[in-house]
């Protein structure tokens, strides 16, 4: 009887533990999933320009820009009050000689740094071009225009070097581990 009660108790305990573990895992996975969706953290300053009463600083995760998805973010500052403007509307377009190559709206939602407006753009053509930004702050509208250079795609081997090297690192560590295990047992372990 006592034994059964103890069994029940331990079963309940383990189910509570499992439940807690599941809950924690769910929370972490939700946080991770939301983190994956949120992009951009400013990065390197691409250019800075003043127009009327505002100063716009453009950031990108890499400079110069490269072909492929690029996080481009903007800080809009009010020159008179020396503080960031957070309720503006920011439209960004990339142009080359052939016309607009990429455009979109930059928002806080896509940015990790919530002082920035971010837009994830897919750059498809290399070469010189212009980045046009339209900032609407209340009734005021500002047009900014700056030269940008888009470089060719980075070698995929360099881009994915971490994923390409991890099997080799683990394999080397494993051989080293096995060598040590062999020495310990003087015979294949397991």
């Amino acid at each position: 009887m006592v034994c059964e009660q103890m069994k029940k108790k331990s079963k309940r305990k383990s189910s509570i533990r499992g439940h807690l573990f599941g809950q924690t895992l769910l929370v972490v996975l939700t946080i991770c999933a939301s983190a994956i969706m949120v992009r951009a953290d400013g990065g390197v300053v691409l250019w800075q320009q003043t127009s009327g009463s505002i100063t716009v600083t453009a950031f990108a995760t890499q400079s110069p820009l490269r072909i492929g998805p690029a996080d481009i973010s903007f800080l809009i500052e009010n020159n008179d009050q020396s503080r960031p403007i957070l309720d503006a509307r920011v439209i960004v377009a990339l142009e080359d000689a052939g016309g607009v190559t990429a455009d979109g709206e930059a928002t806080h939602d896509q940015a990790r740094n919530k002082l920035l407006y971010c837009s994830v753009m897919n750059l498809v053509k290399p070469g010189p071009g212009r980045m046009k930004v339209i900032v609407t702050d209340g009734s005021e509208k500002y047009d900014l225009d700056h030269k940008v250079e888009v470089s060719g795609r980075q070698s995929p081997l360099i881009e994915h070097w971490k994923l390409l090297t991890f099997p080799f690192m683990i394999a080397i560590l494993f051989v080293f581990h096995q060598r040590l295990a062999w020495m310990k047992h003087a015979w294949p372990p397991g």
């Binding site: 983190a35 995760t61 957070l86 990790r112 919530k114 002082l115 995929p156 994923l163 099997p167 310990k184």
Partner: protein, 781 residues
Amino acid sequence: MDTITDAVLNSWNLDPWLLIPALVISLLYARGWSRQHKRAPHRFGFPQLISFSAGLISVLLALISPLDTFAGWLLTVHMIQHLLLMMVGPALILYGNPYLPLLAGMPRSFLKDGVAPFFASVTLRRVARFVTHPVFCWTAFVFTTIAWHTPPMYQLALNSPTWHAVEHLCFLTTALLFWSPIIQPYPLVPQMPRWSIIPYLFFADFQNTALSAFLIFYERVLYPAYETAPRIAGMTVLEDQAAAGAIMWVASSIFFLIPVALITIEVLSQKKTPRLRKRVVVGQSQLRKRTERQAAKHRPRRRTAIDLLSLPLIGSILRWRYFRRSVQAVMFVVAIIVVADGFFGPQVAAMNLAGVLPWTHWRGFSVIALLVVGNVVCMACPFNFVRDLGRRLLPASWSWPRRLRSKWITVSLLFIFFWAYEAFSLWERPRSVAWLIVGYFAAALIIDGLYKGASFCKYVCPVGQYQFIQSLISPVEVGVRSPTVCNTCTTHDCLRGNSQQRGCELQLFQPQKTSNMDCTFCLDCVSACPHENVSLLATLPGTQLVKIEGRKRSLRWFRRFDGAVLIFLLVFAGFINAGSMSESVQRWEQALQQTLGRSSFQMILFVSFLIALVAIPVILVAASVWLGKLFSRRPMSWRESVSTFAQAFVPLGFSMWLAHFSYHLVNGALTAVPVVQRAARSAGLSILGKPDWSLSASMINFGWLPSAQLLMLGLGLLFTLYIGWRLASSFRLKFAWTLGMVAPWAVLALVLYAAGVWIIFQPMQMRGMMMDGTAEWCVSK
């Protein structure tokens, strides 16, 4: 709250690469601490638990909070981040005596087989002793601090997220080393007298003061990146630099000088007995460990498999008598609709169910199901209906010819299929697909109508063989709950059947069954077993392959040559099938077709497939066998060698199939919508609406997909190398000879891996999608 402050406080970087390791570490510590707390509450008490948790939170705060987000804009913020990483976090973590709880928190088998060899190594212990020596710790800490504060290094970290992460890693590791001799977490043995920590800390503070003073009093901007950064705090760059120096000076000095005071008091009030007491304690703990080790030997091993049939909801669904029939019925109806649409629908692949569902969706879902569950495709196979029909219409009394009881028929059929798929562009001919399915139905009906058992599944069906081989990776297996129950069983109903339920048609005897090979997940054995001892058991993916490295009689399937050839065919075909869709191969095929005409092209392609799927694999495998024999100095027949090492390649082959099919599934998932809408309208059902063909023409740019594919391939390679190593180890040779035996196979695996990486980086033809000429290639890669 001010909107700007609100925005700043919401700027978190919830990076899963930081959160998941932190969660794993905290779980390990909590598990280990609860065990250690029972044994030695004075060493692993609640202060230690709180301290460790606070330390981990400090490190996480430094890396994921707005501190990290704004570190590139303000040097002051960056300095606070570094203080958390170098002073607060490491000291608190070490006060939690983390070593033993972290080790005790690991699974016992991982601790024994994975970690113990490192601890047992004399060389590594010497290295650890050297690395934890106060002189090394101090030098590493000071050198790292100075080096990363020099302008070129600091600029490098500010401009590159990867170098920034390296900088933080350097700070954290050297800080953990630096605080080790000061805090002396149990069971670290002090290597220098306690009083020597006083000058240790003083000199560290001296270096810190010099660096801080330089930051405060230097009249130019030290790090140019801050000149271009927005000045959100109302400070100039120089003011920010000076403030950062002041924080570094004051806060760090406090962190250095408080331990100085505490250690001075400790040294002055020290008695000489503790050292002796410590030795006695160590002796007792060693004795206790030895007793525990002996007790553990006699403890029965816990089963790690999860019994799916005893799970509350899933178990009842799976045990439902009509479950399998219902799923098969659904698949049968789908197959009939696909066939009908293939014959009578538009002959454009992207507009026809037969051009989209089998190639994009069914293949993709089946390979994912193999990884997540098991051989679901055979379980839900629609051909079972016609097989049963064949048994009723025809005698079904002949025995399958003894000579044909092998995998050679399927090897030939699979080769023909892979060639025909490319030569006749099956994916873009819905009517051919419909004929293929009808042919399959006819073959199943005739073979199982004439022969006993599941001869079609076991010896003929190419899809089944593909599933059998790939399901060796799967986590779910049909197996026995308790081997002791089987030992007492005399009726063997799982194999022979009984009056109410037939036994295994594929002649698999449950107590001897070791893997999913030849298992169709029909669950007949589950229903037949009178002891309810057969179930669906779930473990970690790949566990079956780890089991087969043994040399038991029951594992003889894995020593069969035809099985090895089947495995190699599927492995190489995985790479060739994916490679044929790459831009360069497709252009070569198109040029060849234009030059030679269609019939000659098919012959040339046949020869090419002979070279790629037969000649090249034979040469590579033969070279691996010969070199393996040469390096291992073990006489072994080439058949034995091939049959042994073939199974190691299953994970690599599977990873390529997974990377390939999941790519098509992810990119072409929505193509099914307009095709189903079109098919419904053709059948007179307009409730699904008008087909939106833009869904078949647009490709969503999934930037993460190549990374995910590389990860799959990398894991496949690692698992292949691991199985190869275990197989070579089973010969019990010297270490160097074992390495020599497995090395040529490892090189072969690396060659395949390199081919897979090349394929992943190639623009791919989007089959089953409506792409125009220019957009046909997935340029987003």
